[in-house]
Amino acid sequence: MSDPILSLQAVHTDIAQYHILQGVDLEVPRGQVTMLLGRNGVGKTTTLKTIMGQWTAKSGKILYDGQDITRLPVSARARGGIGFVPEDMGIFSDLTVEENMLLGCTSGPLDSARKEWLLGAFPALGTFWNSEAGNLSGGQKQMLSIARAMAEDRQLYLIDEPTKGLAPAIVSTMAQALRELKGQGASILLVEQNFSVARALGDSAAVMDDGRVIWTGPMAELAENKDLQERLMGLSMEAH
């Protein structure tokens, strides 16, 4: 794999007394969607949070666009072009949808063409543009969280379970938006439990177990091989 946008080399992370990441090696190719898969509690979310800097890696190296960001502050990583959509959405509920979107633009006003694209991808946000974000439904909050991360052009998106707990109609809206983002050439590291979304979007996959990446390869290969899925994750993804 040549010149990945993101590379983790033997990353270890502790949370309190727990040793969660136990030597993660991972590469995210440029312009591709990499699925981060695995059973619950194997360290997928901790991996994303370590890349973003919410948890500091105890050892190992995180290279982003060729630069070592292991010890950089969170805000510097974000300004360097990494967008993060956490599982808990993290919208600012006291502010309006518009204010949330404007906060997503750290280097200037919201570009009108980008706004048009985002409101086309997530029409509900346009409807509630001036409403307080705290009054939105769960699905709308998730849309806002993703749209806010996309408000500015970022090189790499870390997205944690964007379709979790959403109604099927909203899942397809979300998947379509991610497909469009991928079409624009963005690099995405996506944690996703919804198999149809993972299969439709993923170019490559990395499967984690016990705080390590135990398998990497093309998403299509994993999607077609039920035995491999059973062996790696203890279940068939078709069932999900």
């Binding site: 973003m52 800097g53 969170v74 805000s75 993290g90 906060l103 750290t106």
Partner: protein, 352 residues
């Protein structure tokens, strides 16, 4: 025009708009509407405390930062004017130099406190501000050669701002330098309040609100949380110091009890909470209500006590000496019935 002056932040409630208008009209026309020295003094205090409480709201309501050093910044502004007027003699240059020096000292101190302690958890910041404020209060009372110690300082302000400057009559009211002094306090407070309103409605204010709600998310979007918190602390300190300067110009006296005491800090906290945190307009309602209660509750209770003299127990309960107990009860009731403050409650009513 008015919406622009309010930075697009409208009161968003008809009742609130009406109450704010009444307060504005009463304060703007205080020298002509009310007779005597005491009402004018109360109006000036309300103007100054609106500014002081609004500057604290920027910190607590918008930034989510709990500080106990706000009276220290207030005191720095007041002592700046007092010391400049004492050493430079009476004159507007002394007032200006003292105000600027006080504000500058407040900003420098806020910057130091912010850079050293805003990286740590909120509770440590609160404790550090408490420690620094206590240390400054002790220093002020110990260095009596400079600050006048517990007795404070009495000084002269430009004659044009004192009662000795008689300027004739207008609308049946005698206009003196004191009237001019009042309008200096009124307009300076109004302009600085509108400036604070502009700050909280700017992109900077939005980031502060975002940090208050979820500081990691704000950081993960790309905002340097420590920088924003420190900037908010400095802005808030500067505004508090300017409020202190106005207080010093109005009173012509500064002392630890009137500008630096922890009781004033508690009063500011109560005014912010009663008015409604994170609203700015809460500062107007909270300060007006609190200072009116502080000034007139004792009189009101005295009259009520006399009127109920024949009844058992009630006159004792209404004894003017018990005014703090009733203020406490009023505070408990207001927090119980208006957990989001009076402004928050009025806006909720409109929303529902």
């Amino acid at each position: 025009m008015i919406v622009k002056l309010l930075s697009g932040d409208k009161p968003r409630s008809a009742v609130l708009t009406a109450v704010l208008l009444v307060i504005l009209i009463c304060l703007a026309g205080a020298p002509f509407i009310f007779d005597g020295v005491r009402p004018l003094d109360t109006a000036a205090r309300i103007c100054i405390f609106i500014l002081l409480v609004a500057s604290y709201d920027l910190l607590l309501g918008y930034g989510g930062i709990v500080s106990f050093a706000h009276t220290m910044f207030f005191g720095l502004g007041a002592y700046g004017v007092a010391l400049a007027s004492t050493h430079m003699g009476r004159g507007f240059d002394a007032l200006l130099a003292g105000s600027l020096a006080g504000a500058l000292a407040a900003v420098v101190l806020a910057l130091l406190i912010g850079l050293f302690s805003l990286r740590v958890r909120a509770i440590f910041f609160a404790m550090i501000t408490l420690a620094v404020a206590s240390a400054v209060a002790v220093l002020v009372s110990q260095f009596s050669g400079i600050t006048g110690g517990e007795d404070g300082l009495t000084y002269k302000i430009p004659r044009v701002l004192t009662s000795a400057n008689r300027m004739g009559e207008f609308l049946g009211t005698r206009i003196t330098g004191k009237t001019l002094n009042y309008y200096l306090v009124f307009f300076a407070s109004l302009i600085l309040f509108l400036l604070l309103l502009r700050i909280v409605n700017s992109p900077f204010g939005r980031v502060l609100q975002a940090i208050r709600e979820n500081d990691f998310r704000a950081e993960a979007i790309g905002y340097r949380v420590v920088w924003y918190r420190t900037a908010a602390t400095c802005l808030s300190a500067a505004a508090a110091a300017l409020a202190g300067s106005l207080f010093a110009i109005w009173l012509r006296y500064v002392g630890p009890d009137t500008t630096l005491s922890f009781e004033i800090m508690l009063d500011i906290l109560l005014m912010v909470v009663i008015g409604g945190m994170g609203t700015m307009y809460g500062a107007v309602i909270g300060a007006a209500l609190f200072i009116l209660a502080q000034t007139y509750l004792q009189n009101l209770m005295g009259s009520a006590s006399e009127a109920t003299a024949g009844l058992p127990l009630i006159p004792d309960l209404l004894n003017p000496n018990r005014w703090l107990m009733w203020l406490g009860i009023l505070f408990i009731l207001s927090v119980y019935f208006f957990p989001s403050g009076i402004v928050g409650r009025l806006r909720q009513r409109r929303a529902s």
